[in-house]
Symmetry: C2
């Protein structure tokens, strides 16, 4: 594998989770990496391996590290009389939530022509906004639960019990189950703390949920299908304990046809435009039919614990990253207008 | 108005058009502006007003101008011992097509915390990809023509005559009308030169097309509704002659109810997420019903020629730009894990 930079942090509600995620990913891939931290005020710092401890960031000590700056082709650091590039073959981002999953970092790397493993701008937008994810599922021909979009103060029409989530966030923050009128205020306050719109779906207590991760790189690289342990729903703490998992996931006990349908659904969703990314899809199974619950375009520690052959999937992906077509300016139009008008 | 920077150029097929657009916009707003040129290799240059002539760019002379670099809060230029910021209250981008309309520049300005007039990442993605625009119209409750998405080599099912467009581009390049089998090869070659997917819609020769531009800034600022002169469809050259228009558009001769329905459709589309931008929607009217044809999130010269009161709309918009919520990192989760595990 080329020497990657693991990028983590970001101005998001999952800033601190991303630190844990970077540590988990580093342990999983076991090759020499550089670490670059994105602070919540959008500065980049080169972090020594020895400082990859949570308190180095929580205490603010990271600001003593070498600051980096984006430039065409990669990162630069300041020198006495200017700036000098640092080695960077490819960036692997584990910036979760805002910045990492909303298209911001994808756009930066595209603009500065830096190779990166992660969702491109369009795929980020589609998975970050849960309303757009519903439309993505329609495009992919994959079922989802019925839903309703509500704004603050609007009355929810979905009957109890329902689950309510901020429309954009890419994490489990602000999510509540509403079983009756007494849950309403808390659920609305939680959801609208994070976004001006929320998505409401029926809550099915007995629904079975499954996780499947993968990527396309010359061929499909799919993980095992895991049925995660769950309470009512996976809350923030529970979900991110996965990031520090070292044990491998077990293949879920699932009917062969349903498992095949789930892999097929994954491929159709991925094919809408996730090339370059390793994503995790969370599915429901209801009456032997597969439903997309949500897409994690930058899953915790890049879902390494779900794979039997993680390193080979990652290497294949890095060797097959899509690059944006370069467009060279032409001036034919201006020349033709000039010749028509005699000036411009 | 604060002193704006007009940003133009970009790595797109409309690079040269953007130069014309910047000149047109500057003439329309009549206040002191700075000009920043984005070259097709993604470098920024501060351009003197006297050099705002097409041949300065076409000849490559622009590279003698002061190069600028993005930094938190705005642009910087190099000095002997470092970098120094240049004044920048707000960026008005007339970068059309890729970079300007696909979310790339929006993400850069969001990331570097620079105020800008233009579509945000999500709105850019939705209007840049014509398949997503169809879904945006569904979300807005606005009619569009039936359509079909095709890839190279796939057979089109829509009966002749149909119109075929590259799925992503944001301009009129690669668009053809297919009236019969003899047009097929040319249409497919044209469309797939620019994208791996194309959108096909029925071609209605007699359809009437209308343009309406506007923005929301404390209140709605809508332009007149113009019925542009047209041939079969507006091709690249024709469309961009608009950029150098100095004459004001005339209100189209349109039934009052239809005009009201068109304004209502515009507001619903804009409301999906175009806050911060001045956009132009192109509508069809068929049997007195309004259909969205396409959205121009960065219209040529920001559609100034369509407005009676352009400067006041622009000032209102600049004074009401949405800013991304800033998120400060918290380390509660790490602290709680540390206390649970005794280390991390």
């Amino acid at each position: 594998m080329q020497q990657p930079i693991i990028l983590f942090g970001g101005a998001s509600f999952e800033h601190e989770i991303s630190i844990v995620s970077a540590i988990g990913l580093h342990q999983a891939i076991g090759v020499r990496c550089e670490f670059v931290f994105l602070s919540s005020d959008h500065r980049f710092y080169l972090i020594d391996l020895i400082n990859m401890r949570a308190d180095y960031f929580a205490s603010g000590k990271f600001s003593r590290s070498t600051e980096l700056f984006l430039a065409n082709g990669g990162f630069e650091r300041k020198t006495l009389f200017g700036r000098t590039p640092i080695d960077c073959d490819v960036i692997i981002s584990v910036v979760h939530g805002a910045d990492g999953e909303d298209g911001t970092l994808a756009a930066l790397f595209d603009f500065y022509n830096i190779a990166y493993l992660g969702p491109r701008i369009e795929a980020s937008t589609l998975s970050y906004n849960k309303h757009l994810t519903k439309h993505l599922a329609i495009m992919a021909g994959v079922r989802t639960l019925p839903y309703e979009i509500v704004r603050r103060g609007e009355v929810v029409k979905t009957p109890y019990p329902y689950i309510m989530k901020p429309l954009r966030l890419g994490s489990s923050l602000g999510i509540s189950v509403v079983k009756g009128a007494s849950d309403l205020d808390y659920a609305h306050d939680s959801a609208f703390e994070f976004d001006s719109e929320a998505i409401v779906e029926p809550y099915i207590a007995s629904v079975r949920e499954y996780n499947l991760a993968g990527c396309y790189a010359d061929d499909w690289h799919l993980s095992v299908i895991e049925e995660p342990q769950k309470k009512e729903f996976l809350d923030f703490d529970q979900k991110y304990l996965d990031f520090t998992r070292t044990s491998k996931a077990k293949e879920a006990d699932l009917d062969g046809n349903v498992a095949a349908a789930m892999r097929e659904a994954f491929k159709r969703i991925y094919g809408v435009g996730f090339f370059g990314a390793l994503i995790r899809c969370d599915f429901f199974v209801i009456d032997n039919e597969v439903y997309l619950n949500e897409i994690n375009p930058v899953p915790g520690s890049l879902a390494n614990y779900l794979f039997d052959n993680y390193e080979s999937a990652l290497i294949a992906l890095i060797e097959n990253l899509p690059r944006r077509k370069s467009i060279t300016a032409s001036y034919n139009y201006i020349h033709s207008i000039r010749s028509q008008k005699g000036k411009l």
